[in-house]
Structure formats: C-alpha cells, structure tokens
C-alpha cells in the first residue's frame, strides 16, 4: 500500500505541535477573514447585516465548481495556456458571475428596503438566505462537486511543520486581497464608499452615486465569499469539494465579525484570524473527554461573548451614538 506521492511518505516525527496549530489556525482564519471582510464591507456600505452570506458562499463555490470542471469556461477556448492558467481563468470568471449575482440580489431584494429599520432588513437577508441556499442546493445535487484545484495533495514538509500547497496559496491570495482592498479604499471609488458608509444622505448630496456604491459593496462581498468557498472546498479542508453543507461555514464567521466590530475592516481580519487560531488551539490542547464533541466549534462564539462583555461594540467597532 504505497502512495505515488513521495512528499506524503516522509517521516513526520518532530512536527512541532504548537507551530502546526498556528499554521492550521491561520489557514482556517484566512477563510473566516475573507468571509468577515465581505460581511463588513456590505454592512459598512449598505447598512445591511447580511445573513445571506452563507448562501453567497455556497453559490460562489458552486459556480466555481461548475465553471472550473463541468463547463470548463472559458478555459476550453484558452487551450494555448497551461492548465493552471486555464483553471485560474475559469475561477475568475465564476467569481465575477458570483459577484454579478450579488449585485442583482441587492438591487432586487434589498434596494426596496433602503431606509427601513436595520432589523427588518436583516430579516430580509434571512429569507434570502433560505431561498438562495435551497436553489443552490438543487443545482449542486446529490454528490459533492470537486473544484478541480491544481494543488492536489502536495504538502511542504519543513520537518517541524507541514503546510499544504493549497494553504500557501490561500494565505497568499488572502494577503493580496487584503492589500487590494486597503488600496481600493484609497481610490476614488473607495473614498465614495467610505463616504457612503459614513452617511448615505450626505454622500448622495455630495454627488456620490449611492446606488452604485451599494452594488459595488455586494459585488465585493459576494466575490470574497466565493474565494472563501473555494479554499473551504479543497484539500486539506473539504477535499470532496462543494456540497449542500458548504453554506454553513458562514455561521462560523459571524463571531469573527462581532469580535472585530461590525463596521471595522481591520477588525474583521483580526477577528477572522483570532477565531481560526482559537479553534485550532482548542482542537490541539483542549481534547478533554468531558468537553465531548464539537467544543472547538463553539470557541468562536464563547470568545465573542467574552469580547462583547468587555467591549460591547467589538475590538475595533464604532460605538453607536445614542441620542434621544
């Protein structure tokens, strides 16, 4: 019983448990950070608590699986490129499609709710989540759908720590996306979004097209959710790909959002990595019998409760100014 994979057959003695925990936590934290960031961008720009973020994740990941494997579009027309490049082209197309769907959903279901109570809008997204997730599940169907990622099962073994190629790709992509978003907020469009986040009416009075800002925010949110969905659906996370349960990952990212503060993008990143590392730590060091099964899964929420008791608006959130 030998594998063709030479890397995997290496001895694993000497893996430093602490270092491995941090690597696992960071890799998972990156997924949470991507989700939390999209969530916060949507909230900041449009004042919508998006409970449909899970549905966007599932939909985005499904579109990636469909474009990258079943449709092979536009890769099938780009045969002169190496396979990895074809795959990347497919994925980017799929993510753009996901972003477009995000824009349409906002335009149709949430634009009529502009100016309504935050709570009512949040519940609209709950309804949206149910509807979109059900339809996506109908598309996904019976079997999980592999993403066809090029990283395979390859692992870099440094002796004291092991990192899958996909995890390296994931951390690189996350950092690049974070940097791009930081740059984006310095651009003209980004400034418009920040102005809208500050005060929608005043922004509009300044000549900012608030509607377009809303669309951009949802496009970015759906795009990031799709990216998170990809990295959640590859080795070593869920090697089988996208299935009907993929959407539930978003519920694990909610604590990250709250820990960082609902309206803080750096907060979302910090929260995402904090939750990821906290879960990995609980997994490695809290394997007590009496804790039963699934304790690491609620560590994020427990952390969130502790943070909220100390800072009711999260670590970096803006306190709401209460007036009579």
């Amino acid at each position: 019983m030998t594998h063709g994979l030479v890397v995997l057959a290496q001895e694993t003695v000497g893996v430093n448990e602490f270092a491995q925990t941090i690597v696992d936590g960071t890799s998972f934290g990156a997924i949470y950070a991507l989700l939390a960031m999209g969530f916060v961008i949507i909230f900041k720009a449009t004042s919508v608590i998006n409970f449909a973020h899970g549905a966007l994740t599932g939909l985005g990941a499904f579109l990636v699986a469909a474009f990258a494997t079943v449709l092979d579009f536009p890769g099938r027309f780009l045969t002169f490129l190496p396979e990895t490049a074809q795959w990347t082209a497919n994925v980017i197309t799929a993510l753009i499609a996901a972003a477009l769907i995000g824009v349409i959903l906002e335009r149709v279901f949430l634009r009529p709710m502009v100016g309504e109570a935050l709570f009512a809008v949040a519940i609209v997204t709950l309804g949206l989540d149910i509807a979109v997730r059900t339809i996506t599940n109908d598309w996904i169907g019976t079997n999980p759908r592999p993403i066809g990622a090029p990283w395979g099962l390859n692992v870099v073994d440094l002796g004291w720590v092991r990192i899958a190629h996909s995890e390296i790709a994931q951390i690189v992509v996350t950092v690049v996306l974070l940097a791009s978003i930081a740059l984006f907020f310095r651009s003209r469009t980004g400034v418009a979004m920040r102005a809208t986040a500050f005060d929608q009416e005043t922004a509009r009075a300044q000549g900012i097209n608030v509607g377009r800002v809303f669309s951009q925010a949802w496009a970015i949110g759906a795009f990031l959710a799709g990216v998170a969905g990809i990295f959640f659906s590859v080795f070593p996370r869920r090697s089988t790909g996208v299935d009907q349960a993929t959407a539930f990952i978003a519920f694990r990212a909610f604590p990250a959002v709250i820990i960082g503060g609902l309206d803080s993008i750096p907060g979302a990143v910090v929260g995402g990595f904090a939750v990821g590392i906290a879960e990995a730590t609980a997994n490695s060091y809290l394997g007590f019998e009496f804790l039963g099964s699934g304790f690491p899964g609620i560590v994020g929420y427990l952390l969130m409760l502790v943070v909220l008791l100390i800072r009711p608006y999260g670590l970096f959130g803006t306190p709401e100014i209460r007036r009579v």
């Binding site: 063709g4 995997l8 001895e11 149709v108 279901f109 019976t142 099962l153 089988t240 099964s293 899964g297």
Partner: protein, 462 residues
C-alpha cells in the same frame, strides 16, 4: 423608484424559480419508449404473475390505501427530501418510482396500479410523526421510513395501527423482535457490517495490530462502532484512537479533531462511520498530517463516488487505501438485478444519471412488491394483511442486487450477515464505465459476524 423596485423583485423571483428548473428544461424528450417492450425486464425483476384476466375476481379484503374499483394501491414514503440525507433519499425515491412505473406498465399487481404518496420529513422527528399521521389514512403500507429516531418515534403508532414500514436505516435493533413487530429491515445492520469489514481489512493486511475508529453521533455511529469494538477484541487489534460520536458534518472543528486523532494514533487500520464529505475532509487532513500506509474502510454511506471523481485530489490515494462496504451491488455490477435496475432507468428515466442509490429504492420496492403479492393471494389487502404477508415472507430474492432476505425464524437466524464489498474505481468513473466502484465480494461473511449471537440491538436507542 419604489414601485419599480417592487416590480423588479417580482420579476427576479420568477426568474429565480425559472432558473431553478432550467437545468432540466431543455431536455424534454419524446414520450414513446425506445424500441419495443423488453420482455426480459419483468422476468429479471422478480416474479411478475400473469394478470388474471377472464377469471372470476376473488374476494379481496381491503381497508385503507387499496381501491379495487379504481384499481389502485397506494404506498407511502416518509423520505428526507430537504434534510441532511436529501441527496441520497431523492435518488432512492427515484428507484421506487422507476420500479413501480415498470410494474404498472406490466399490468400492476394483478391489475392494480401502484401509486406512491411521498412526503418530505426534512429529517425532523415531529414532521415525521405529523406526516405519518397524514399518510396512515391513505396508504396500505410505508415503502420506507427515513431515520432511526424517527422510525422509533412512529413505531408505537405503527403497532397500534397495524401498518407495515420498511426502515430506511440499518440500525441493528430492527432485527430485534422486541422492536420490529411492524418493520421489515433489509441488509447488513451497522454493527455486523463493521465486524465484516474490519475482519476483511485484516485479511488484506495480516500484520495489522492497531485500529482507529471514529463515527457520527447517534445510532448510526454508535451501533457501527459497537461492532467495531467487538471485532477489534476478537481479532486482537488494539484500538489506538476512539472517536465514536465525534464527527459532526456541519462542524469543521470536529473533523479536524478526528483527523488529528487518527493521524496521531499511527493505526494500521481505520474504520470511519460517517458520510462522504466529512470523510473526505478527515481522510485529506490525515494525509496532510503525513498519515499514510493505513487501510481505510467505512460504513456504507461513508462512501460516495465523488471521492474518486476525476477532479478529486483524493482519487489516487483512496483507490489504494479504501475498501467500500456496499449495502447493495454498485451500478455497473454484472448481476441480473443490476441489469434490471439499468434497464428500468433506461426505460423510465433515460436522462437520469447512473447512480448506485437507485438500487436501494428498487430493493425496498421489491420487498413491498412481494408483500403485496402475497397479501393479494391471501385475499387480504388490508393494512394488517400486508403486514402479516410481509412478516411471513420466507425468501425475498434481489437477483444479485443485494443478499437475499428472510423474515421468518429466530432473530439470530434471520439476521442478515452477508456483505457486499467493493473497491474504488476512479478509472472506470472517469471513463464512464462504472459509478466509481467495482464489486469484489458478493456475500462475504466474516467468522466474527457469523459467530455473533444476536439477542438485542448492539446499541440501545433507549
């Protein structure tokens, strides 16, 4: 502005719903069946009696679910069509649908057409009970009842009402006469399955000394791992990691926990009782942690062909490591029963994809078919009559689709112990010649399972 948005909303709603059906919208086909009727179809499907045309119709007692004037028999299916098992149960229901379509096209049950009343329980116990109450006044028997706690919840009602149900779970308690007065189980119970498979793994690697086990919570995982512990004990295997009940498919952290537990145990054999996605994650993460060289196997639902799909990174290592416990023969197997399923699908749903799970629906339908025929011959198509008929079935043959069943005799004698075993077949799946697995054993029974004295369920549902 506002009105426009509202109209847009309505349009999009319509669009969404339309889009949801778009995947099948294009492929409407002509309704005429290709070629002539295949006369062998019914022959291989089990004994189809000739219709008693011309004869004086005999007296048939009926109460619920059978309408002699309209010529219909109604069977209920309590299916999970929107819960965690929806992906599988949908296909199983297709199996029922194509089977009965075929029976009906060939004269039905002595001229009576069989209709299905399908209800979606969503895998919620209260919905299950609610839908049972709805269907009990419409159907003669239940073609399946999805889920163990769910079936336990309706069991007192089944007994009070005297209705037959086929449990769609392989809980070992269904073979226990204390519970199963109204149930006809089929296939190898979870705990016997793990005994068979673990012993089979030791045959493949006689040097194996240690085993790691992990499972979902509930009767499924507990029952299976109860058998695994018995097998490990009998085989002298040391259980170096026990993650019974730890796996929760919706909770990523539990998967990482189990994967690191298995990888850290350096076991020679691994037995996982879960479903495909969490299994894939656990297997992948164990590989990533450098855990290789072990033989893996798992309870039936742990396997899914997507694990070895062409785009799956796990295809190659799984093909080396994994032994599939198959409750029924895979799609492409050569038996008469498999040919029958393939013919059924070709005739009644030519566009449906080839999948293994149709077989489960067909098997359930075949048991029900036998029960209905026997009840008809006894002149009693009441709910109680069908129940009595099913409980008296001496032999139900699936023509190689699954091991034959009997429902008479001592529980220890009639307990199903014969096991089908397959190996992953990524090449066949990529080439379209199989559904990702090839059958290697039909009817393997391990000595441990053979010697196991069945008196009650391996794991009590309380």
């Amino acid at each position: 502005m506002r009105t426009k948005s509202k109209w847009l909303t309505i349009l999009l709603v319509l669009g969404l719903v339309l889009a949801a059906c778009g995947d099948g919208g294009a492929d409407e086909t002509t309704t005429t069946a290709s070629g002539g009727e295949e006369p062998t179809t019914t022959a291989s499907g089990g004994d189809e009696p000739t219709t008693t045309a011309g004869e004086e119709p005999m007296e048939i007692a009926t109460d619920v679910g059978v309408d002699l004037d309209a010529g219909t028999i109604t069977i209920g299916l309590l299916s999970d069509l929107s819960g965690p098992f929806a992906p599988l149960v949908q296909i199983i229901n297709s199996g029922h649908e194509i089977y009965w379509a075929d029976v009906n096209a060939n004269g039905g049950i002595n001229g009576l057409q069989v209709n299905l009343e399908v209800r979606d329980t969503g895998f919620v116990v209260d919905t299950h009970v609610q839908l049972y109450e709805e269907l009990k006044a419409q159907v003669v028997a239940f073609g399946h009842s999805t889920g163990s706690p769910h079936t336990v919840a309706i069991n007192p009602q089944l007994q009070a009402d005297g209705i037959l149900a086929i449990p769609l779970t392989w809980y070992s308690g269904w073979s226990d006469p204390a519970i199963n007065a109204n149930l006809v189980p089929h296939g190898v119970p979870y705990c016997i399955e793990s005994m068979n498979m673990i012993e089979y793994l030791t045959l493949q690697n006689p040097d194996a000394a240690t085993i790691a086990i992990a499972s979902n919570p509930g009767d499924y995982g507990e029952d299976s791992n109860a058998g695994a512990r018995l097998a490990a004990d009998a085989l002298g295997l040391e259980i170096v990691y026990d993650g019974t009940g730890l796996i929760n498919a919706a909770d990523e952290a539990t998967l990482a926990e189990v994967a690191s537990g298995i990888a850290g145990s350096s076991a020679d054999l691994v037995w996982v009782t879960s479903s495909a996605t969490p299994f894939g994650a656990i297997y992948g993460q164990a590989l990533a942690a450098g855990f290789t060289g072990a033989l893996w196997s798992g309870s039936g639902p742990t396997w899914n062909p997507a694990l070895v799909a062409p785009d799956s990174p796990l295809a190659e290592p799984l093909a080396n490591d994994f032994y599939i416990s198959a409750p029924y023969a895979p799609w492409a197997a050569e038996s008469e029963g498999n040919q029958f399923v393939r013919d059924l699908l070709a005739e009644h749903a030519p566009d449906a994809p080839p999948l293994d799970y149709y077989a489960e629906g067909v098997i359930e339908a075949m048991i029900m078919h036998q029960a209905l025929l026997t009840a008809y011959e006894a002149g009693d198509l009441t709910q109680a009559g069908v129940l009595a008929a099913a409980k008296g079935l001496e032999s139900v043959s699936f023509n190689g689709l699954a091991p034959d069943e009997t429902y008479v005799g001592e529980p220890n004698d009639r307990l199903q112990r014969a096991q089908f075993i397959s190996r992953p077949d990524p090449a066949g799946l990529a080439a379209g010649t199989s559904t990702g697995s090839t059958l290697i054993e039909t009817g393997y029974t391990s000595p441990i399972a053979e010697a196991y004295e069945f008196t009650e369920a391996c794991f009590s549902l309380g």
